[in-house]
């Protein structure tokens, strides 16, 4: 499987052309060695399209997995001592849609200590079957026991698709379990669909650029993905009272080479994920001192301040104020983007916003493709005037 070069068809002209069109610089060509494709290749298949038959993509018949043995869409329940994280409910809502396509069940997995009653809540948000591993040894998240339990559950129940919240715990646990199962894992999906063939269609921004990729795991089960908080909507709660299915915890599962010494709760700080009005600063804000000007506007609007990644890298903001693929996903009623260019990673974190207003000097800035209102102008001119106006109106 992969790209095959048909040497006889590679002329010097074609070789040079393919070398120059590869977006990843993975193709090399010289007369003596001919055409070769290096490991920078991302399989965009541009060379296949433009190669006049000199490069072809060959699919190899791999042994096929029996997909009928894998059933159900599983949601891993993220919680802290029984307090369930909202991302879990959002994922249950999505899982219900996905499972309906093939008449599958929505499954939920909860791991912890003294959580049997708490787990019932998962039924109220759409789970058909809730499985619980309850043991004092599972009270706190430790990577090895949790991986063992999760893995053992999958071996036993064989869910077809698995959705995990892209929280710090989920991002640590999901890859660990996926690697043990030797299956695929797609991080930070922004959209999910289900095919009739039980294949999970995973869509996420990719290649670190302004591109979306449609990713599938066509020949492995289970299929694993993580999804950030606030990407999907939390379904309505429906009252119900059903006992969860209790699973057996064995001593071997609890073996850990890491020991939890201490847990310190961080000071309560309203997460920008929960904010209703947000003002986001981008690189258009030229110095740290200028943030005060934007903060003033934010204060008048009762807004939380947020930023893009470069501002975190400059140490102007703590990482938890970053909106984007590597930061937080937000769903405010109003988002004002000030000097934000709108790279796809940033935009990925703001799509659920009700109203996006952008201020940027560059009329071609990609932020204007997602903004409902684009103000082409200098933030240093507009923001102080707006602040003054709001203040005078009061």
């Amino acid at each position: 499987m992969g790209l095959v070069i048909h040497k006889e068809k590679v002329t010097a002209e074609l070789g040079e052309k393919l070398k120059s069109i590869c977006p990843f610089g993975a193709i090399s060509y010289d007369v003596s060695n001919g055409l070769s494709i290096g490991m920078g290749c991302k399989l965009c298949k541009l060379c296949v399209k433009k190669g006049e038959g000199a490069v072809t993509f060959e699919e190899e018949q791999a042994p096929k997995v029996d997909k009928s043995l894998w059933n159900g869409v599983l949601v891993f329940c993220e919680h802290f001592h029984g307090k369930i994280h909202n991302v879990t409910f959002e994922l249950l809502g999505k899982a219900k849609e996905l499972a309906a396509v093939n008449g599958h069940k929505v499954l939920a997995l909860m791991i912890g200590s003294d959580i049997k009653d708490k787990a019932k809540e998962l039924y109220c948000y759409g789970a058909d079957e809730v499985y619980v591993y309850d043991d004092p040894g599972l009270k706190d998240f430790l990577i090895e026991p949790y991986t063992n339990v999760f893995y053992s559950f999958i071996e036993e129940v064989k869910p077809s698709s698995i959705l995990v919240g892209a929280t710090n715990v989920g991002r640590s646990l999901a890859p660990r379990v996926a690697a043990r199962l030797k299956t695929g894992l797609t991080a930070d999906c922004t959209s999910l669909e289900m095919t009739k063939d039980t294949d999970l269609v995973q869509i996420r921004p990719a290649f670190g650029g302004n591109i979306m990729a449609r990713i599938m795991t066509p020949n492995h089960r289970p299929q694993f993905c993580t999804v950030r908080y606030k990407i999907f909507s939390k379904p309505e709660r429906v009252e119900c009272d059903k006992a969860p299915i209790m699973m057996k915890v064995t001593p071997q599962m609890l073996v850990s080479h890491a020991q939890l010494l201490d847990v310190e709760m961080k000071p309560e700080d309203i997460d920008i994920s929960e904010a209703e009005v947000i003002v986001q600063c981008g690189r258009g804000v030229k110095s740290k001192a200028d943030l005060a000007m934007v903060q003033e506007l934010a204060d008048l609007l009762g807004a939380r301040m947020a930023c893009t990644r470069p501002l975190v890298e400059n140490n102007w903001f703590d990482a938890k104020h970053q909106i984007g693929l590597s930061g937080r996903t937000v769903k405010p009623k109003l988002l004002i983007c000030v000097g934000v260019s709108g790279a796809v990673q940033t935009v990925a974190g703001m799509k659920g916003s009700d109203l996006i207003i952008a201020i940027n000097t560059d009329p071609k800035a990609p932020i204007f493709d997602v903004a409902n209102y684009g103000f082409v102008g200098d933030l240093y001119e507009i923001v102080p005037r707006l602040t003054k106006m709001i203040r005078e109106a009061r």
Binding site: R176, G208, G209, D262, V263
Partner: protein, 262 residues
């Protein structure tokens, strides 16, 4: 203590775009650089070496020019570098990448602590560290914000876990992924750059690995497949407002007032 840091060379600009007319990918013009998140991992390793002695080695997987990233690490003070490069490794997803790296680590020799950066700026998945640890059968901890001490064959660290900070004592060998708040990375040394010794960088190919089965690597070893790439959707209701700064401020104020935000 022997430490190994996993690093990656990433595009200088992550701005790969789709040409609207042709639907083809357009390559950024800028060159490559060392993944900025890796600098924190390297700094953490160098600080540990200063305190506890031992070695700091670096490992990367990539095309031959990825050796440049290793050179930069050597200028920062690392002792030795390993480049894993083979055509067979191309097209690898998270599973195949992490498996390849785990094989490279085995080949590089015994190690007490493996340190990875939080994520790369091109792949952005933050999953390779955890999967690598699984392939090696060792514990790991992500989002490490402080390395407190090394005692009785264990490392004591603090990590960020959503709304709390956890403190764990992890038996070595183990793998940690550092957060960017863990330290302030040093700059590469010009003196070291001048005195650079190429023999400190070693290359591995598939043939050097314990597992030589090529179906475990690259595209063949990758369960996920990119079916297609496409430009992101654009918002439907889109109004562009132009004019003088006064007009813009006024219109924005009016809009916010109409929508009852002020």
């Amino acid at each position: 203590m022997d430490i190994l840091v996993c690093v990656k060379q990433v595009p200088g600009s992550s701005n790969v775009k789709v040409d609207e007319k042709t639907g083809l990918l357009v390559r950024p013009k800028k060159g490559n650089k060392l993944n900025p998140y890796d600098l924190f991992a390297i700094e953490a390793a160098l600080e540990l070496r200063e305190q506890y002695g031992g070695t700091v080695r670096i490992l990367t997987m990539g095309p031959p020019q990825a050796a440049e990233a290793l050179e930069e690490c050597l200028w920062m003070g690392c002792d030795e570098g390993f480049l894993i490069t083979d055509r067979a490794f191309g097209g690898a997803d998270v599973l195949a990448t992490s498996y390849t790296i785990s094989q490279g680590i085995r080949k590089a020799g015994p190690v007490d602590l493996i340190i990875c950066g939080k994520q790369t700026t091109d792949g952005d998945t933050a999953q390779v560290g955890a999967e690598t640890a699984e392939h090696l059968g060792i514990p790991h901890l992500s989002n490490v914000t402080r390395i407190l001490s090394v005692e009785d064959g264990s490392v004591v660290v603090e990590a960020n876990q959503e709304n709390m900070i956890v403190k764990e004592k992890i038996q070595m060998p183990c793998l940690i992924c550092t957060d960017s708040e863990v330290n302030t990375p040093r700059l590469p040394s010009y003196r070291r750059k001048k005195a650079m010794d190429d023999s400190l960088i070693h290359s591995f190919t598939l043939n050097d690995f314990e597992d030589k089965d090529n179906t475990h690597y690259g595209l063949k070893g990758s369960p996920t497949q990119v079916q297609k790439v496409f430009p992101p959707e654009k918002s439907t209701s889109r109004v562009m407002v132009e004019g003088s700064s006064e007009e813009l401020a006024e219109k924005l104020g009016k809009l916010l007032s109409e929508r009852k935000f002020i």
